[in-house]
């Protein structure tokens, strides 16, 4: 079996020498990824830094700063008035939130306090969004004050100490903030909110299938070039040769997934270490199944072009039927037809792990199907694999 590994190594060496295959196999996934990043990379959250000049420094201004900081995607930067003014002057900054001196005191005494938006021009798009977020935070504080006042005035004369009321109301408000009476649930029509985690499985499985075309072609090419026949005059057995080619094909398919998944991990943080490993295992099993099918194609194809055509048609049919670019709804005709596509199982398994936070344990069924395809595919291709017509 050691010789089978040399076959694999040699094939990988050849792969690295072939600029066309390399571009197709390694560069294209990276380009696809870059496109995905371009399309969806900025999609996540509004992110901005709110510049605040806190001239007050009292309880309520601090509370406001804290609450604004808690808003997802918003960072707070505290500047002095002079610093902020200088930045606004230089257009380094388009909007600063100024909490004037006496803000907390005014609020504590039950009067209305004001926030000042110091802005250059209209404050810029980001500034406007920031301002509206700041407004809603202030609005929330306002309502809380009103509640507090209301409670206080209703309980006036009952003898309950004022600080007791304050503490209780505060507790109530905090609970309310955590679990608002009127909550907002995001319901996105046509897929999960995260495009990439929906999209990635399909892209990954598609590339694995493309790798199958390359592998099938190299074997047909090698047969034609005579090196396969030459190998059979050495100590290498047909089984070792077959197995070596299988491993090489798995390796090629797997490298592509490694690139795509690795980049998604690094750039989109789509994974936890555990889900990353789970995804790699799914991809490895899928690559093995695809490699076995690639060997069948290599066995039946008569020419390089033939092998590429069979592989491309096969890949496209699998990709279309397998819900690669969209999720197939259960019970639909496509879902039934899709059961005949190897991609379906890989896509399902990957989506379970990537998009739904499932573990390998949740994908056992799909993995068993893929492993089955691999075993049956290997058996069939071994039966029909001929180094050359008339040979063993």
């Amino acid at each position: 079996m050691k010789r089978a590994l040399y076959i694999t190594l040699n094939e990988v060496k050849l792969y690295l020498q072939d600029k066309g295959d390399l571009a197709f196999g390694l560069l294209l996934p990276i380009v696809t990824f870059a496109l995905m990043y371009g399309a969806f990379g900025g999609q996540t959250l509004f992110e901005a830094t709110a510049v605040i000049v806190n001239e007050d420094g009292g309880n309520y201004s601090t509370l406001f700063v804290e609450q604004l900081d808690e808003v997802e995607g918003i960072d707070v930067e505290l500047l002095t008035a002079t610093e902020a003014d200088a930045k606004l002057e230089r257009s380094d900054l388009l909007l600063a939130l100024v909490i004037p001196a006496g803000f907390s005191e005014t609020l504590a005494s039950g009067n209305k306090a004001e926030l000042v938006f110091k802005q250059r021009g209209n404050g810029g798009q980001e500034g406007q969004i920031l301002a509206s977020i700041a407004r809603s935070v202030a609005e929330e504080m306002n309502q809380e004050f009103q509640v507090r006042d209301q409670v206080k005035s209703n309980l006036e004369g009952t003898g309950i100490p004022e600080d007791r009321i304050d503490v209780t109301v505060q507790q109530f408000l905090e609970e309310e903030r955590g679990q608002p009476a009127v909550g907002v649930v995001e319901e996105v029509v046509g897929g999960s909110p995260d495009f990439i985690s929906q999209f990635l499985p399909g892209i990954v499985t598609m590339y694995v299938l493309f790798a199958l075309a390359l592998s099938a072609r190299t074997i047909v090419e090698e047969r034609k070039r005579g090196t396969l026949e030459r190998l059979l005059t050495t100590r290498l057995s047909a089984n070792e040769l077959f197995f070596g080619k299988f491993l090489a094909s798995v390796a090629k398919g797997f490298v592509q997934t490694l690139i795509l998944l690795g980049l998604s991990y690094a750039v989109f943080q789509l994974f936890t270490p555990l889900s990353f490993i789970a995804s790699l295992i799914i991809c490895l099993i899928f690559a093995a199944a695809a490699a076995a099918l690639g060997l069948i194609i290599a066995s039946i194809a008569r020419s390089e072009d033939g092998s590429v055509w069979i592989a491309v048609v096969f890949t496209m049919v699998m990709v279309m039927m397998g819900g690669t670019f969209f999720q197939v709804s259960e019970g639909s005709i496509l879902a039934t037809v899709g059961k005949a596509s190897i991609s379906t199982y890989a896509n399902d398994a990957l989506r379970t792990v990537v998009a739904e936070g499932g573990s390998l344990g949740d994908t056992v069924w799909q993995l068993v199907v893929l492993a089955g395809i691999c075993v049956v595919g290997l058996a069939i291709s071994r039966l029909i694999f001929k180094v050359l017509p008339g040979s063993k």
């Binding site: 010789r3 040399y6 040699n10 060496k13 050849l14 020498q17 072939d18 070039r225 005579g226 090196t227 026949e229 030459r230 190998l231 059979l232 005059t233 050495t234 100590r235 290498l236 057995s237 180094v387 050359l388 008339g390 040979s391 063993k392």
Partner: protein, 249 residues
């Protein structure tokens, strides 16, 4: 009589209805260089492919070093080296990588394979191109690599199927000397060629094939004597006399 290393008994091979090899028998002694000659399509390559175990014979058998090509192909492959008629190399790899790879397939370990690769490249006069990509070699240089690969693993029997086609006279002479050197070390060689003077010079005995059969088998000297004075006639005269002057497929 010396030990017979290769014994071929009544080999047959048809492609569809066409009889490419039609009852070929001969034997080669250990340490002999044996020439297999014949016009295009005579069945030389088909015979070699059967003997080197990649093509199954329809009937008949052969033993190499006592091992049957039909029943013990694995043992046969341990002791043979093949230089195929058509180039069979990885053009995208360097000469050295090709040699080391096939050396490994012939059962050598990494160090042995590298050492032998360099020795064989020297034999072919290509030691300074060891790291060059084969794709960038000239036709003759590729031929020499094709031949050098066959030597990896020190086989006991070499099948050389037109090893010197397209190689310049200088290198060819160099290669002849090396082949004679291999013979001195005890290697047995089956050699096919269309260069009759090459067969005359290298081979102790030659068989001439035509239409899938051996039509004559003897030493070059005796074959020449059959049609005239051996000093005056050439092997080419013998060849043309026996196989006719009309064109083949």
């Amino acid at each position: 009589m010396a030990e017979e290393f290769l014994v071929v008994k009544d080999l047959h091979k048809s492609f569809n209805e066409f009889k490419a090899v039609n009852g070929v028998s001969f034997s080669i002694e250990k340490g002999e260089i044996f020439g297999l000659l014949g016009p295009n399509g005579a069945g030389k390559t088909t015979t070699i492919r059967m003997l080197s175990t990649v093509l199954g014979a329809d009937s008949g058998d052969a033993t190499i070093g006592g091992h049957s090509i039909r029943r013990d192909a694995e043992a046969v492959r341990r002791i043979i080296g093949v230089c195929p008629q058509d180039l069979a190399l990885y053009e995208d790899l360097s000469a050295l990588d090709n040699m080391v790879f096939f050396g490994r397939m012939a059962g050598l370990n990494g160090d042995e394979a590298r050492a032998q690769a360099m020795t064989n490249l020297e034999l072919m006069g290509l030691e300074d191109r060891a790291r060059g990509k084969v794709a960038k070699f000239s036709g003759g240089m590729k031929r020499r690599i094709n031949l050098a690969i066959a030597l990896m693993g020190n086989p006991q029997l070499l099948f050389l199927d037109e090893p010197t086609v397209g190689i310049d006279p200088q290198s060819r002479n160099h290669i002849y000397e090396n082949i004679l050197g291999l013979q001195k070390k005890g290697m047995t060689i089956l050699y096919t060629t269309h260069y009759m003077e090459e067969a005359d010079r290298l081979c102790q005995r030659v068989a001439i094939m035509d239409g899938g059969q051996i039509i004559t088998l003897d030493t070059p000297y005796k074959l020449k004597s059959q049609i005239g004075s051996p000093e005056q006639v050439t092997m080419e005269d013998v060849f043309l006399k026996l196989t006719g002057r009309s064109l083949r497929d």
